[in-house]
C-alpha cells in the first residue's frame, strides 16, 4: 500500500521527490494564473484599441452612407472626410471603403510609412443602404503600437511575477513538507 510505503521510507530521497511534485504543481498553478491573467489583459487592451478605432470608422460610415444614398460619387467630400479622420489619430495607417464584393472603392493616400505587415489590425464596420441591403464596409487599418507595447510590458512583468510566485510557492511547499515529514508518524 502506498500509505505503508510512506510510513516505511521517509528517507531523504522521498522528501526530495515530494518537493519535486510540489514544484511541478506550483509551476502549473502559478503558470496558469499568469497565462489567464495575460489573456484577460490582452483581450481588454485589444478591445480598447478596436473600440477606439471604431469612432472614426463610425463617422466615415455616416458620411459614406449619406453620399451613397444620394447617388453622389464617393470622391470629393467623402475623400476629404477619410483624410480628416485618418489624420486625427497617428496610429491609423489607412481608412478604406470597400464594396460588398470586397473591391476598394476609396482609400486614403499612402501618406504614412507602412508598418510591417504582421502588425496591422483592422476594424470593419458594415454599411447598409436605406432598404437594409449591404453596401460594403468601412475598413480602418491601424498599427496598435501602444497596445502592443503594453502587451510586451505585461509579458515582462508577468514573467517576473510568475517566476517569483513559482519559486516562492515551491519554497513554501518545501518548508511545509519538511515540517509535516518531521512531525511524521511515531515509529512502531
Amino acid at each position: 500500500m502506498f500509505a505503508r510505503h510512506i510510513q516505511q521510507s521517509l528517507a531523504f530521497a522521498n522528501i526530495v521527490r515530494l518537493m519535486g511534485v510540489a514544484t511541478v504543481v506550483a509551476l502549473f498553478g502559478t503558470g496558469m494564473c499568469g497565462f489567464l491573467g495575460y489573456y484577460k489583459f490582452k483581450s481588454a487592451v485589444e478591445a480598447a484599441a478596436r473600440s477606439r478605432m471604431s469612432v472614426p470608422a463610425a463617422s466615415v460610415r455616416a458620411g459614406a452612407e449619406a453620399a451613397l444614398s444620394l447617388g453622389v460619387p464617393l470622391a470629393g467630400e467623402t475623400r476629404a472626410l477619410l483624410q480628416r479622420e485618418r489624420s486625427a489619430d497617428p496610429e491609423i495607417v489607412e481608412i478604406a471603403i470597400i464594396d460588398a464584393a470586397g473591391r476598394t472603392l476609396l482609400r486614403t493616400d499612402a501618406g504614412r510609412a507602412a508598418p510591417p505587415p504582421g502588425e496591422v489590425d483592422e476594424v470593419h464596420l458594415p454599411m447598409r443602404n436605406s432598404f437594409d441591403q449591404p453596401l460594403g464596409d468601412v475598413v480602418v487599418r491601424y498599427a496598435a503600437t501602444s497596445a502592443r507595447g503594453a502587451l510586451a510590458r505585461m509579458r515582462e512583468r508577468l514573467a517576473v511575477i510568475v517566476a517569483a510566485g513559482w519559486i516562492g510557492t515551491s519554497l513554501l511547499a518545501a518548508a511545509g513538507i519538511a515540517l509535516v515529514a518531521r512531525r511524521g508518524p511515531a515509529p512502531r
Partner: protein
C-alpha cells in the same frame, strides 16, 4: 474509504494539503500581483480611448454650436452622455464643462481621479471641454471574471497533486522496498497512462466545434452530423480493434504496444492540429483511436501480467483512477488553451502530452515472461450463449449501452456544440465536462461502499440511470450556460451510481456462463456493446441536433435514457435473481 483512517493515510492527506495550501497561496499571490500590473498597464490604454470618445462627443457639440445653438441651452445632452457610457462601460464619468470649468451636463459619478479633457472648439476658440474618467471598479472587474477559471485551475491542481504523489512517491517507495506483488510496475504504469489519457481528454472541450468549423460550406451532410463523425471514428476504432489488439499485445509484448500506441497518439494529434479538411481530420482521429486502443489494451495487459488474482482489483482501480484523474484535469485545461490560443494549439498540447506519455512509458520494464499464463481464447459459441441470455441483454441494452450513449452523445458531443452555439468559449465546455468527472469521482467510492454493503444492484443501476437523465431536462427550463453544468453534474452522479453496480450485476446475471467459460466472453461482449454505444452516441445526438437544435437534443437524449432506465427497473422484477 474505511471508517478508521490509519496514521499513514492521515500523513498522506496532510502532505497533499500542505502542497495544495502552498499552491493556493502562490496562486493568490500571483493573481494579486497581476491585478496591480493590469491596473498600471491597462489604465493608459483606456485613457487613450476615453480621450477619443470625449473628442467625438466634443465634435457633436461643436456641430450643434456651428448651427447657432449655445452651450448652456443644448438639449438632451445628459441622455446622450448616458448612451455613450452604456456603449463604453469602462467610463465612470463624462461631463461637458463650459469655458469657466463649471459642469453643465454630466453622466455617472465623479470620483475625483484625474480625467482626460478634450476641448470643444467653436469658430477657432475653445468654448468648453468634454471630460471623461476611466472607472477603477471596471478595471478591477476584469480579473474577477477570471476567478472561475482560477478556481477550476485549483481543482485541477488538487487532482494533479494526487496523481503525481501516487506516481512518484509510490514508485520510489516501492522500488526501495522491492515488494514482489507487481506494485513497482503498476506505479510506473500510472504516469504514462495518466499523461496519455490527459492527451485525449484535453481535446474534448473543443473537438466538435473544430470539426464543425472545418466542414465545407456546401456539403450534403449537415455540419452538426459532420462534427459527430470524428468522435464516432475514434470510438469505432477502439471498439472494433479491441479483440485484435488484445491478441497482438499478448504476442508482441504489452510495453512495446504501449509505446507504439503512444507514438500513434502523438502522430494523430499532430495531424489533427494541422488538418485542413474535415475528412483528413476524421482520419487523424481514427489514428488517435488506434493509439488509444493500443495503450488501453496494453495497459490492461500489463495489469493482468503483473498482478495475481488477489491484487487484480487494486490494479484495475489504479487504471480507472488514472483515467478519472485525466478526465478531471484534461477538459478544462484544453478548453482554456483553445479559448486563448485556438483549437489547433489544443491539439498540439495533446500531442505534447502523448509524447510525454511515451517518454514516461520507456521506464516500464521490458516485456519478459508472463507472471500468469494467458487464458484460452473463448470460442464464438461461448459468445453466442452469452447473447442468448435474456438477462445479459437486459443489463447491456437497457443499462450499459444507454449510459455510454448519453455520455458520448450528450457530454462529448452536445456540450461543446451547445456551448459554442450559446456564444460561450470552450473553457465553459471544459468546466462542464470537469464537473461530470468530479461528480463521478466523488460518488464512485460511496456507491462502491453501498454495493459492498448489499444494496440491491438492479435498483442502483436503474436509479443511477434515471438520475443521469434528469439533467437533460434542465434545458426545458431555459437557455444559457447554467443548465449545461446541471446536465453534466447529474450525469456524473447518476453514472457513478450505475457503474459501481453494473459489473457486479453482470457477474451475477451471467454467473452460469462465467463459471462455464470464464469471464472473457461475458465481459468481452459487454465491453464491446458499451463501446458501440459510445460510437453511436454522437450520431444519435447529432441527428437530434440536426432536426431540432442542441437544446432539444439534450432533452431527447435525456428522455431516451429515462425510458431505458424505467424499463430496466420494470423488468428488474422479472429478471433479477
Amino acid at each position: 474509504m474505511s471508517a478508521a483512517r490509519t496514521e499513514p493515510q492521515r500523513l498522506q492527506s496532510r502532505l497533499v494539503a500542505t502542497i495544495l495550501a502552498a499552491v493556493m497561496l502562490g496562486m493568490l499571490g500571483v493573481t494579486w500581483a497581476t491585478q496591480h500590473a493590469l491596473q498600471d498597464l491597462l489604465r493608459p490604454e483606456l485613457q487613450r480611448k476615453a480621450g477619443v470618445v470625449g473628442g467625438s462627443v466634443g465634435e457633436l457639440v461643436g456641430k450643434a454650436l456651428d448651427h447657432g445653438l449655445e452651450l448652456p441651452e443644448l438639449a438632451g445632452v445628459a441622455a446622450h452622455l448616458d448612451a455613450v457610457r452604456r456603449e463604453h462601460p469602462e467610463l465612470a464619468w463624462i461631463a461637458l464643462r463650459d469655458d469657466a470649468g463649471a459642469v453643465l451636463f454630466s453622466s455617472g459619478r465623479d470620483d475625483g481621479t484625474r480625467g482626460v479633457a478634450v476641448p470643444v472648439v467653436h469658430l477657432g476658440r475653445p468654448v468648453g471641454a468634454v471630460e471623461t474618467q476611466v472607472s477603477d471598479a471596471w478595471i478591477r472587474h476584469i480579473l474577477l471574471e477570471a476567478a472561475l477559471d482560477l478556481g477550476v485551475v485549483f481543482v485541477v491542481a488538487i487532482f494533479l497533486t494526487r496523481e503525481l504523489l501516487h506516481t512518484f512517491v509510490g514508485a520510489g517507495a516501492a522500488a526501495s522496498t522491492g515488494t514482489a506483488d507487481g506494485a513497482p510496475v503498476l506505479a510506473r504504469l500510472r504516469l504514462p497512462l495518466f499523461l496519455f489519457m490527459l492527451a485525449e481528454e484535453s481535446t474534448r472541450a473543443f473537438l466538435p466545434g473544430f470539426a464543425k468549423a472545418l466542414a465545407p460550406a456546401g456539403s450534403a451532410l449537415s455540419p452538426d452530423l459532420l462534427a459527430a463523425l470524428p468522435i464516432v471514428a475514434f470510438m469505432l476504432v477502439v471498439a472494433l480493434g479491441q479483440p485484435v489488439l488484445a491478441t497482438w499485445s499478448e504476442r508482441a509484448g504489452a510495453r512495446r504496444i504501449l509505446l507504439r500506441g503512444a507514438l500513434l497518439g502523438v502522430a494523430g494529434s499532430a495531424g489533427a492540429a494541422l488538418a485542413a479538411h474535415v475528412g483528413t481530420f476524421i482520419a487523424w482521429r481514427g489514428l488517435c483511436g488506434l493509439g488509444y486502443g493500443m495503450v488501453f489494451v496494453a495497459g490492461q495487459g500489463l495489469v493482468l501480467q503483473h498482478t495475481t488474482a488477489a491484487g487484480r482489483t487494486r490494479g484495475f482501480a489504479l487504471f480507472v483512477g488514472a483515467i478519472m484523474a485525466a478526465a478531471v484535469c484534461g477538459p478544462p485545461i484544453g478548453g482554456m488553451l483553445a479559448e486563448h490560443l485556438g483549437p489547433r494549439a489544443g491539439f498540439g498540447l495533446a500531442a505534447a502530452f502523448a509524447a510525454a506519455a511515451w517518454l514516461a512509458a520507456r521506464g516500464l520494464p521490458a516485456d519478459g515472461s508472463h507472471a500468469s499464463p494467458a487464458p484460452p481464447a473463448p470460442a464464438p459459441r461461448d459468445y453466442a450463449r452469452v447473447f442468448a441470455q435474456g438477462r445479459f441483454l437486459w443489463v447491456t441494452a437497457l443499462a450499459a449501452v444507454p449510459a455510454k450513449l448519453v455520455l458520448a452523445g450528450s457530454v462529448f458531443y452536445l456540450v461543446p456544440l451547445y456551448v459554442a452555439a450559446a456564444g460561450a468559449s470552450p473553457s465553459v465546455a471544459g468546466r462542464a465536462m470537469m464537473l461530470y468527472a468530479v461528480a463521478l469521482v466523488l460518488v464512485l467510492p460511496r456507491a462502491t461502499h453501498w454495493v459492498e454493503r448489499g444494496v440491491p444492484l438492479a435498483r442502483m443501476v436503474g436509479a443511477g440511470l434515471c438520475v443521469s437523465a434528469l439533467g437533460g431536462f434542465a434545458l426545458l427550463a431555459g437557455d444559457g450556460v447554467l443548465p449545461v453544468y446541471l446536465v453534466t453534474a447529474l450525469l456524473g452522479l447518476g453514472q457513478g451510481l450505475s457503474i459501481a453496480a453494473q459489473s457486479s450485476l453482470l457477474s451475477q446475471v451471467c454467473a452460469a456462463e462465467i463459471a462455464a467459460h470464464g469471464s472473457g466472453p461475458a465481459f468481452g461482449a459487454y465491453r464491446l456493446l458499451e463501446r458501440l454505444g459510445n460510437a453511436s452516441g454522437p450520431v444519435v445526438a447529432g441527428a437530434f441536433a440536426m432536426l431540432a437544435g442542441p437544446s432539444s437534443a439534450f432533452v431527447a437524449m435525456a428522455a431516451l435514457v429515462l425510458a431505458c432506465g424505467l424499463s430496466f427497473l420494470l423488468l428488474a422484477r422479472r429478471a433479477a435473481p
